[in-house]
Each structure stands twice: as structure tokens, then as C-alpha cells.
């Protein structure tokens, strides 16, 4: 293994992190239950405290890469600025461990269904084969493009690609991206059916919704706007307010935007309260 490679230290860090992570997981799994809660509480508090302090502490101005802080306040500001990415990296590392558990769950469910020949076992087979093929092709392609003997040539463009690179391209761009786009396109049909139900006049609220939506849609149709505005425009400043684009703007500015902002205030405050309860471990257990 060539640790002198530009990515060598990163590889070492990766291996070191994996070992430490596994040891910590083993330690926590085998710790007495009475220790686990305080350990989680302390870790949560410390991790959150870094972000809280970073938010509250004044930021150091124009920091250069080799600057020495000029006092206590600036030392703390520098330290916090450096600590936040570290806390983020730790969170990312934990996520990677948990991704392994997710993949394990996926494999377990589908292998069980496949070998047990349960209903729709064929689709489980497709999932497993697709996943394994994509993983192998993806990593192989990555190796060839990044570290392979012809890495520089392969990175230059498709003209020099090997069959493996082309195979990966077919899997990713040809199949995966296309199917992704197809799923996204289906939303257009769902919007139509949902809009049909939403616009049925069943109550006062539905009628108001229908009227507002109709005006908004009409205000986006050029010929109709022209027709409407030529009818009401030019008589007086007051009547000009009834041009359809003015009405649409009024609905947007006076109802839609304030409404959305009010909802955002509520959501923000809810997230703040929830975050505080989690940070201070006031939020415990499931809903009883």
C-alpha cells in the first residue's frame, strides 16, 4: 500500500477512524445501561455546545491561514472556527457506520425474500443484482479513472474509455438517471389529478382557493393578460389596480408571502424548541 500517494494520509485516517469507531461501538454496546444515558447526554451536549458557542461568539475578522490570534477572544473565535468542521466530520463518520446497517437491512430483507421464494421474490433478486453490479462497476470505474495506469487519459473524455467505463456509463447515465427522470416526470400527472380534487367547490375555503388559483394561472397567460388589461386599463389610477397582473401581485404580496413567512416563523420556532430539548436531553424516550 502506497501511503505516499496524495490520498495516503486520508486512507490512514479512514482506517484509524474505522478502528476507533468499531472500538467505541463495542464499548458502548457492552457498557452497563446506567452508563449509556449519561454518555449519550454528555456527548450530545458537548457536540451541540460547539455549534451554540460558534453562533454566539463574535467571529474573528479577516482570518488568514497562518494568523496568530491577538488575544483571548480571538483565540476562542479561531478555536471555534476550527472545531465546527471537526464536529461535522465526526457526525459524517457516524453516518457512514449507520449506512452499513442500512445496507445490511436491505440485503437481509431481500435475501430472505429471494431464498424463501416469497411473493415477488423476483423483484428482490433484481434489487440485489442491481446493487451488487452497480457497486462493483462504480468502484472499478472510480479506481481506473482516479488511480489506474491510464487515469489521465480516461479523465480526458469518453473517446479513450475502456469497455468497463462504458458499462458504468450505461448503468449510471443510461439507466439510473433515466429512470430517475421518469419518476420525476410522473409528478406532472399526479399534480393534475391532485389539482382536480383540490379545485372542486366543496366549501367556502375550497372556493376561495379555486378563485385565487384561477386568477394566478390567468395572470401567467400572456394573451389573456393583454385582453383583460386592455379592458380595464387607462381609465383611472384606481381602476388600474384591477389589471390582472396587479391583482395577482396583490394576492402574492398581501396573502401568500405573509402567510408563508408566518408558517416559517412557526416552523423555525418549533425546530429551535425541539433542538433545545434534544441538546439539553430534555426530550427523552418515545411518545408514551
Amino acid at each position: 500500500m502506497n501511503f505516499g500517494h496524495p490520498n495516503g494520509p486520508a486512507l490512514l485516517w479512514g482506517i484509524g477512524t474505522a478502528v476507533v469507531g468499531l472500538l467505541l461501538t463495542y464499548g458502548l454496546s457492552n457498557a452497563p445501561p446506567s452508563w449509556r444515558r449519561p454518555a449519550v447526554t454528555i456527548c450530545t451536549f458537548l457536540a451541540g455546545a460547539v455549534y451554540v458557542a460558534y453562533f454566539l461568539w463574535p467571529k474573528a475578522q479577516d482570518r488568514g491561514p497562518h494568523d496568530i490570534p491577538r488575544g483571548f477572544s480571538e483565540s476562542v473565535a479561531f478555536w471555534l472556527q476550527d472545531a465546527v468542521p471537526v464536529a461535522g466530520n465526526i457526525a459524517n463518520t457516524l453516518s457512514i457506520f449507520l449506512l452499513g446497517l442500512g445496507i445490511y437491512s436491505l440485503m437481509r430483507i431481500h435475501l430472505k425474500r429471494l431464498f424463501g421464494m416469497h411473493k415477488d421474490w423476483f423483484f428482490s433478486g433484481v434489487v440485489i443484482v442491481s446493487m451488487l453490479t452497480m457497486v462493483v462497476a462504480g468502484y472499478w470505474n472510480y479506481y481506473l479513472v482516479k488511480y489506474g495506469p491510464n487515469a489521465a487519459v480516461l479523465s480526458a473524455g469518453p473517446a479513450q474509455w475502456t469497455p468497463l467505463n462504458r458499462f458504468y456509463d450505461i448503468l449510471f447515465d443510461g439507466l439510473y438517471q433515466t429512470m430517475d427522470a421518469a419518476m420525476f416526470s410522473i409528478i406532472a400527472f399526479y399534480i393534475l389529478s391532485a389539482a382536480y380534487r383540490a379545485f372542486r367547490v366543496r366549501s367556502v375555503e375550497a372556493t376561495i382557493l379555486l378563485a385565487a388559483a384561477l386568477l394566478m394561472m390567468l395572470s401567467l397567460m400572456g394573451p389573456f393578460v393583454q385582453l383583460w388589461n386592455s379592458g380595464v386599463g387607462g381609465h383611472s389610477a384606481f381602476v388600474d389596480n384591477f389589471k390582472i397582473d396587479e391583482i395577482a401581485m396583490w394576492i402574492r404580496k398581501s396573502f401568500q408571502e405573509p402567510g408563508i413567512r408566518a408558517l416559517q416563523f412557526g416552523v423555525g420556532l418549533g425546530a429551535l424548541a425541539m433542538g433545545l430539548r434534544l441538546w439539553l436531553s430534555l426530550e427523552r424516550g418515545g411518545v408514551n
Binding site: F55, L56, P58, K59, A60, Q61, D62, G64, H66, D67, I68, P69, R70, G71, S73, E74, S95, L99, L101, G102, I103, S105, L106, R108, I109, K112, D120, M179, D180, M183, F184, I186, Y190, I191, S193, A194, A195, R197, A198, I260, L263, F265, G266, V267, L269, G270, A271, L272, A273, M274, G275, L276, R277, L278, L282, E283, G285, G286, V287, N288
Partner: protein, 302 residues
């Protein structure tokens, strides 16, 4: 020491809101008689599970696409309530996630719920599933699951994006009773159009307080109400101060770096008002005392 003017008022206001919430959490103590208005979306949870039980079909829960954050945790707390009720009636559940950390936490919560109810024998390890971390692959998988298993009740609570309508319309097509709530304002209209009950904005966060009436949670909710009132007052003060100031004549202009100049008399501009400067940090001047550099570092200080 020179620092950026980071808009101290915004930080101070946030600290005030935090104080309101914490103060009310501790004030609530053990009192249980605090009132919370009725939220139809949450009242409908039991109805939806009851329907699934009668039909002998599963209940589906999806906590959205968000990472393991306050939103996902809140969704999982509501799902814990759903799971508890479903467990008592032996109603099968399906909880699908697209984020691995959410999957692991969800699995622990669901298992804990069955264990605490003394019904661990009814716990199905496959009831919590990680499907895919790709948005539309996840949407396709959830849609397929809804159609294959003919879920009788669905709960879509959390961070949803473009896939929200795929879920809601697929479940609607098979006649499932749906309770949904998204913290993304752009998706809420889709849920309103396609679902039976929708939790709008902070109703989603009020759910655990509503369902459990725990003093800590209810106190937090009252703190949020205090915070909303203070935001309303701040908006009114800002509105009045800007309205008054914009109609006043001034001969002084303060630029973005905080330097004032004498100019011709004019009506106060928007960026000359007190409210504007309170929330918009000024561009700082260069450092008056340059910092020393680490030994061996090339170049001088700024």
C-alpha cells in the same frame, strides 16, 4: 479587538427566544392542566389506525428525506405513538426510511415501543426498512410498497420534497386514509390537495406535546407562543419605526462601512433606517492592528 458586526440584534433576539422556551419548560414543572387546542390531524391518528386494524392491512409511516435532525426525530416520536397503538391491536406496521441514521434510530424506537408494551413477540424486524438514499428510487420503492401491501393508513411526516405527491397520490389511489405534515412549505399544498389530514407548520412540532401532555413539552409549546408574540411585537415596532423614519428628512448618510457623510437634505432611504442597520451587518474596515504570522508562513498579515 476587531470583529465583524454580525448583526448583534439577531443574536440577542435568538437568545431571548431561547430564554422564553427554557423558562416555560422549567415553569411548567409538573403541572398537567395546560390547554392545547384541538389539532384534527393528530386526533385522526387513532381513527386511521383503527381503520387499518378493521381491514387487517398495514399502517405505513415515512419520516421524509431529511437527515437525522430535529424534524426526523419529531416524526419518529409521532411514529412511536402510532406504533404503540398499532402494537396493542396487532396491526402490522411498515416504517420506510431513506436515510441510514434515521433507519437505525427508527428501528431502536420501534423495538423499544414493543418491548415497553410487553409485546416484543409481535415485533417484526422487517417492519422498519431502509429502502434507498436516492430520492426517486425511494419514491418508487415506497409507491410499490403501498400498492403491493395495500396499506390502509399512511403517515407522511417530516421533510418531504418533490416525492411528496407521488406518495400521497399513490396512497390516495388505493383509498388509504392519510395523515401528512411537512416542514417544507412548498410541499404542504400538495399534501392538502391529496391527503385527508395535514399538520401545517408548527402543528407538526406540537404533536408530541398534544399526544402526551408531558409538562416539559407543553411548557416548550407555551415558550414558542411567547416567542411568537415577541416576534409580532418586533414586527410592529419595526414597521412603525420604518414608516416614521422614511417620512423624515435627513442630511446625514451612513454608508455600509459605518462612515457618516453630510449630504443634501432628502427623505430617509430604506438603507438609512435604524431597523435596516440593526439587521444588516456593516462591511468592516481593514484590521487596525495586523495579526502576527506563524513561523515559516509566507506572506504578511492582512
Amino acid at each position: 479587538m476587531q470583529y465583524y458586526d454580525t448583526g448583534w440584534l439577531a443574536v440577542a433576539f435568538t437568545v431571548l427566544l431561547v430564554f422564553f422556551i427554557l423558562f416555560n419548560i422549567f415553569r411548567a414543572g409538573k403541572s398537567t392542566g395546560l390547554y392545547i387546542r384541538r389539532i384534527p390531524g393528530l386526533t385522526a391518528i387513532d381513527e386511521a389506525i383503527g381503520r387499518a386494524t378493521e381491514m387487517g392491512r398495514p399502517v405505513l409511516m415515512v419520516p421524509g428525506l431529511g437527515d437525522l435532525n430535529a424534524i426526523s426525530i419529531q416524526a419518529l416520536k409521532i411514529f412511536a405513538y402510532v406504533t404503540r397503538t398499532a402494537a396493542r391491536f396487532s396491526t402490522p406496521i411498515r416504517l420506510c426510511t431513506s436515510v441510514a441514521p434515521v433507519y437505525t434510530v427508527a428501528q431502536e424506537i420501534v423495538r423499544d415501543v414493543y418491548q415497553s408494551e410487553g409485546l416484543i413477540d409481535r415485533y417484526d424486524q422487517d417492519s422498519v426498512q431502509f429502502l434507498s438514499d436516492r430520492q426517486f428510487a425511494f419514491a418508487a420503492a415506497v409507491g410499490g410498497l403501498i400498492l403491493r401491501e395495500q396499506t390502509a393508513a399512511t403517515f407522511f411526516l417530516g421533510e418531504f420534497y418533490a416525492e411528496s405527491l407521488i406518495f400521497a397520490e399513490t396512497a390516495n389511489a388505493i383509498g388509504a386514509i392519510q395523515v401528512a405534515g411537512s416542514t417544507e412549505n412548498t410541499q404542504t399544498p400538495f399534501f392538502i390537495a391529496a391527503c385527508d389530514y395535514v399538520l401545517i407548520a408548527d402543528e407538526f412540532y406540537a404533536a408530541s406535546a398534544y399526544l402526551t401532555r408531558q409538562p416539559v413539552l407543553v411548557g416548550s409549546l407555551i415558550g414558542q407562543d411567547w416567542s411568537k408574540l415577541s416576534i409580532m411585537v418586533a414586527i410592529m415596532i419595526g414597521f412603525l419605526s420604518v414608516a416614521v423614519q422614511r417620512n423624515m428628512t435627513t442630511t446625514v448618510h451612513t454608508d455600509d462601512s459605518g462612515v457618516t457623510h453630510q449630504v443634501a437634505a432628502h427623505k430617509t432611504l430604506e438603507n438609512e433606517t435604524i431597523a435596516y442597520h440593526m439587521f444588516n451587518p456593516r462591511t468592516p474596515p481593514p484590521l487596525a492592528t495586523p495579526r502576527q504570522q506563524e513561523q515559516g508562513a509566507a506572506g504578511g498579515g492582512k
